[in-house]
């Protein structure tokens, strides 16, 4: 059933995408560019040159005040108060039970000011949880999404492209660091973060500045091979890079440990935090399942929801969480949660792809690693 596109939210860049001939898709209540032409071409552009993404649908939540760091230490699983000003950290919001409610990146903009970026699909949940959990701390939680935009430049040429539009040298900006810079005479937050497995930058700006910045980047980036890239290639890029997607690899039924991301839980931080007891228990007992990477020998693609089976016993071991043909590797790749005893590289596994049983082999989830 086609959603009524008039009810979908639009980012400040909607008109720009329309002019570029984007094919739109409904995503988390937003009308977003899926692709502008061929998503495989866009995928290759990001791997070899650079792609320009509109990520303004993602929630931008400002957490500020004298106890902002402590409030986030309590609300999230990571040690956010330990981030230096100008730093960023990948973290998670978990339920009391340890179940994952969202995965996030938190940026420390100032001693008492953090920017929390959440998945569009979980914006309401994250905002409500942060407000609720910050209660009692001298902190305010404000949803800035409406007034802001987020543009990403990702690819080996990203640094060159961004350098051409800012005064300050970008080479000094470390991975997972953020700083305020002037870009085309506009004040933006420039972060060296991304979701593609390539070098890249995420640019946080005001909604009013978004179109001009987008057009400037496209224009200045053209000679470096920059092209607009949509959500379709964003998914194949992150899958190749082994990055989880909330709703697929991550969901409220599992803890960070099942996703192989136990490192985000900072048990050593001072004070209590939501989910501490449940997570400590899960760490002690070991994860209930393991997230594995799978590669298929044939051309059929294991997709989200397909059953992973043990051919010998006929037992259903788990479900594919994500699967796609990998443009970079040239064969289908997928991820699945399987019971720990079945998670070894020598294990023979099969996937039921629409009635056809196809063999798959277990690999690392990091199917692709950039060379520089």
């Amino acid at each position: 059933m086609t959603p009524d596109h008039r009810l979908l939210r639009r980012t400040p860049l909607y008109a720009a995408h329309d002019q570029l001939g984007a094919k739109f898709t409904a995503f988390a209540g937003w009308s977003m560019p899926l692709r502008y032409g061929s998503e495989v071409t866009e995928h290759h552009a990001v791997r070899h040159r650079a792609g320009l993404f509109d990520l303004s649908h993602m929630a931008q939540i400002e957490v500020s005040g004298p106890e902002a760091g402590r409030a986030l230490d309590y609300a999230l699983v990571g040690h956010l108060s330990a981030i230096d000003v100008g730093g960023a950290r990948y973290t998670m919001l978990c339920h009391d039970t340890g179940g994952i409610l969202d995965d996030l990146v938190a940026y420390r903009l100032a001693e008492h000011r953090f920017l929390v970026v959440a998945n569009a699909s979980n914006a309401a949940v994250v905002l409500a949880a942060l407000r609720d959990r910050a209660d009692g701390f001298s902190t305010s939680v404000a949803d800035r999404t409406q007034d802001r935009a987020l543009i990403a430049v990702q690819g080996p040429n990203a640094a060159e492209i961004v350098s051409s539009v800012v005064e300050t040298p970008v080479e000094t900006l470390r991975y997972y660091a953020a700083t305020v810079v002037e870009m085309a005479q506009r004040s933006v937050i420039l972060a060296r973060t991304g979701y593609t497995g390539e070098d890249g930058f995420e640019i946080f700006c005001s909604a009013e500045d978004a179109t001009d910045l987008w057009q400037t980047l496209l224009r200045e980036g053209a000679e470096h091979g920059l092209q607009p890239a949509g959500l379709a290639c964003r998914d194949t890029l992150r899958l190749e890079a082994g990055m989880p997607l909330y709703g697929n690899e991550l969901h409220v039924g599992i803890t960070p440990f099942e996703a192989g991301l136990g490192r985000v839980v900072a048990f050593g931080k001072p004070g209590d935090f939501v989910g501490r007891a449940a997570l400590a228990e899960r760490k002690a007992s070991g994860p209930r399942s393991v997230l594995v990477g799978l590669v298929a020998a044939g051309r059929r693609v294991p997709r989200h929801g397909h059953a992973v089976i043990d051919l010998v016993s006929g037992e259903r071991l788990g479900l594919i969480t994500s699967g796609a043909p990998s443009p970079t590797l040239g064969h289908p790749i997928a991820m699945a949660h399987v019971p720990a005893p079945h998670a070894h590289p020598e294990t023979s596994l099969h996937v039921d792809i629409r009635g056809t049983i196809e063999p798959v082999s277990i690999t690392s989830t990091q199917f692709y690693r950039r060379s520089r």
Binding site: R35, S38, E39, V40, A232, R299, V301, A324, P325, R354
Partner: protein
Amino acid sequence: MTIPVNLHYSTDHEWVSASEGPATVGITAFAAEALGDIVYVQLPEIGAKVEAGQPCGEVESTKSVSELYAPASGTVLEINDAVVADPSLINQDPYAGGWLYRLHVQQPAALLSAAEYDALIHSA
């Protein structure tokens, strides 16, 4: 996109070169464009009997899988090995090099003309 006038069309976005006797079948540029980059195609077997409007194969793009419906009833004579080896041919050249299979049409089917198909896709 130009819709070749010499072909017949089904409501499932397939084209057929003839409405009876030996005919070539493929999917339209509209369908290929909607699917995106095609990565896998499963065609009916040579000798298989296909029925108009019934699924007879699959076409898989980067994002999704769609069924291929037979535009007419008949027996499959030949399949295009080139698209099996390189499904992107369907995106590149849906009306010629990207043909899918040939069949002997045994029963005349209700097909659309180029003008009728054009009207169909523009009303969507």
